[in-house]
Amino acid sequence: MPRVKTAKEEPEQQSANPYLPVSTKITSFKRESSDCFMIRIDFKTKHDPGQFVQLTLPGIGEAPISIASYSQEFMDLNIREVGNVTKALSKMKKGDTLFVRGPYGKGYPMDKLFGKELIVIGGGSGVAPLKGILSYVDKHKNNFGEVSLYFGFRTPEDILFKDEMRQWRNKYNLNLSVDKNPNKARISCDVCFITNLIEKAKLNPENKIVFICGPPMMMNITISILKNKGFKEEQIYVSTERLMQCALGICGHCMIHGKYTCLDGPVFRYDEIGQYTND
């Protein structure tokens, strides 16, 4: 399977003006938790898992959103309400129009990792881009070894992709945790930080690749645990968050020690940015 071409290799697919988004429609809207929702948009394009798009609501602004699917027929975006644009998006419904440009950035280099066993670690809305990996793995089952998932959420109510979780539990080695359970919900997962589960797990670094996406604190702790278990920085891929405005490697906001998150990332092999994760 050849690597799908990224937006950068096919610059003519949109308008000649790289800043101008195209119109698209919301084909489904699903609330996932109190502050997260999933929209599917009618935007057909080739992309890698881990890439992102820029969504525009005219008059509100533009926000980078990572792609939570792997399909050329549609695009799923899991969105957390944290800023102006995402709050306005949360009030939209099926059939509404919004504007999109992309996909941008480098995703997970899945085709270079054939034959590896995967460890996928996500925290909160950081699970969204990792969902694209699992869609990819579904389509290329025979190319990967065992897949282990470690997903952590704040409370049982915050757990995303509940339907998919059931399938993933059957297919993969799923480890789920919630930080706390204030409403005493009946749950079949551990109540602890996801990092505690990783600490306890018997993980052998051999032939493994780790994908991490989550809050900065959770990623930093996870990486130090993995390093103690003998994992090398080259085995770890992180998906980073920065302020991104142009998404074309010009505006400068997303720079991490000379690397543009929107061009060279948002997925980095950990040794590429290593000590500069707070830059």
């Binding site: 800043y19 101008l20 119109s23 005219p58 602004g61 800023g83 405005q245 010009i250 400068g252 830059d279």
Partner: protein, 324 residues
């Protein structure tokens, strides 16, 4: 070699003004590149306080306008006159080269390109450093111009640097004379007193001496505003009272301000002045060089000249000792 006699230089400029917008260093309250209305204003050898970048990479740029769910690009006026900028110093020309890389190499920025395409760059080679803050001779600046003027006695020797420049000379051929005079190497390059010794600063990232400079930094962002190469920008939407109509705009941004790296939710990645100060210097001297083979900094000295506390990062870096 071609020359223009200084005696006929004003006639040449007047002729230019008839069909072109003429822009040159002008001194008013401060010195800047301005549209010339009266050629007496021009001080061709002046090293302007404000950079030339505003003429290509505008401070405020409308990217597109919207009306509910209809987007429209700004109309490009084919009527715009050709522009001639006279009196660009070698540092200015090299900073235009850096911005050309950012806005025209990989990504074709339509707003920048429109302004750039209608402009002819006429340089003026400094005879001596403008002041003690210039350090261009330590920055490996290249030739990047349509025409370059070298001040020699009663004439300007003219070097042509591009096809555009050649066509321009052909159009105004009556002012250009062939001459036996020639340029010596020392005519091309001047020696500045201030020299940046250590241009490879990779190893210095955790050096304690950064603190000396950061301690007197206000994080006011004058340095990046005055930098002729700095190209970072913000994008935001502006709406009218109906909340339906409006424009998406881009403005100059400053990496020295905390909001530059603030993400939704409020986290600021480069939250300390030291982080931001080092980011500027590393972007200028290392990051851009790693990507494009040349430093972003062209040694014009504007960031030192315009700094309220005159932080001389060149001296600061020169004084750093590598302690391993």
């Amino acid at each position: 070699m071609l020359k223009i006699n200084k005696a006929s230089f004003n006639d040449f400029l007047l002729d230019l003004m008839r069909y072109n917008e003429l822009i040159a260093p002008v001194k008013t309250d401060e010195s800047r590149f301005e549209l010339v209305k009266d050629i007496k204003q021009i001080e061709i050898s002046l090293h302007t306080y404000f950079p030339v970048k505003k003429l290509f990479f505008r401070k405020h740029q409308t990217m597109f306008s919207f009306d509910k769910n209809k987007l429209a690009e700004p109309e490009t006026s084919a009527e715009k006159k050709q522009r001639v900028i006279v009196g660009l110093k070698r540092c200015d020309l090299n900073s235009i080269r850096r911005q050309d890389i950012m806005f025209m190499k990989d990504t074709k920025d339509p707003y920048y390109k429109e302004e750039r395409d209608r402009t002819i760059l006429v340089g003026y080679n400094c005879k001596e450093p403008f002041d003690e803050y210039c350090f261009c001779s330590s920055m490996d600046l290249g030739d990047y111009y349509d025409l370059m003027l070298y001040d020699k006695d009663d004439a300007y020797l003219v070097e042509i640097g591009s096809e555009k420049g050649r066509n321009f000379v052909d159009r105004y051929r009556k002012y250009f004379w062939d001459t036996e005079l020639f340029l010596r190497p020392e005519d091309r390059r001047i020696e500045t007193k201030l020299q940046l010794d250590k241009r490879d600063i990779k190893e210095y990232y955790n050096h304690p001496d950064w603190k000396k400079m950061v301690d007197i930094c206000f994080s006011c962002a004058a340095c990046v505003t005055l930098c002729p190469s700095c190209y970072c920008f913000d994008i935001h939407d502006e709406v009218d009272a109906t909340l339906n109509k409006g424009e998406r705009k881009r403005n100059w941004a400053a990496c020295q301000l905390p909001c530059f790296t603030k993400v939704a939710g409020g986290h600021v990645f480069r939250s300390t002045r030291e982080d931001r100060f080092k980011h500027r210097i590393y972007h200028q001297l290392q990051y851009f060089k790693d990507r494009h083979g040349m430093t972003l900094c062209t040694g014009c000295g504007r960031c030192i000249r315009g700094c309220p506390t005159r932080i001389n990062f060149v001296k600061g870096i020169n004084e750093m000792k590598l302690e391993k």
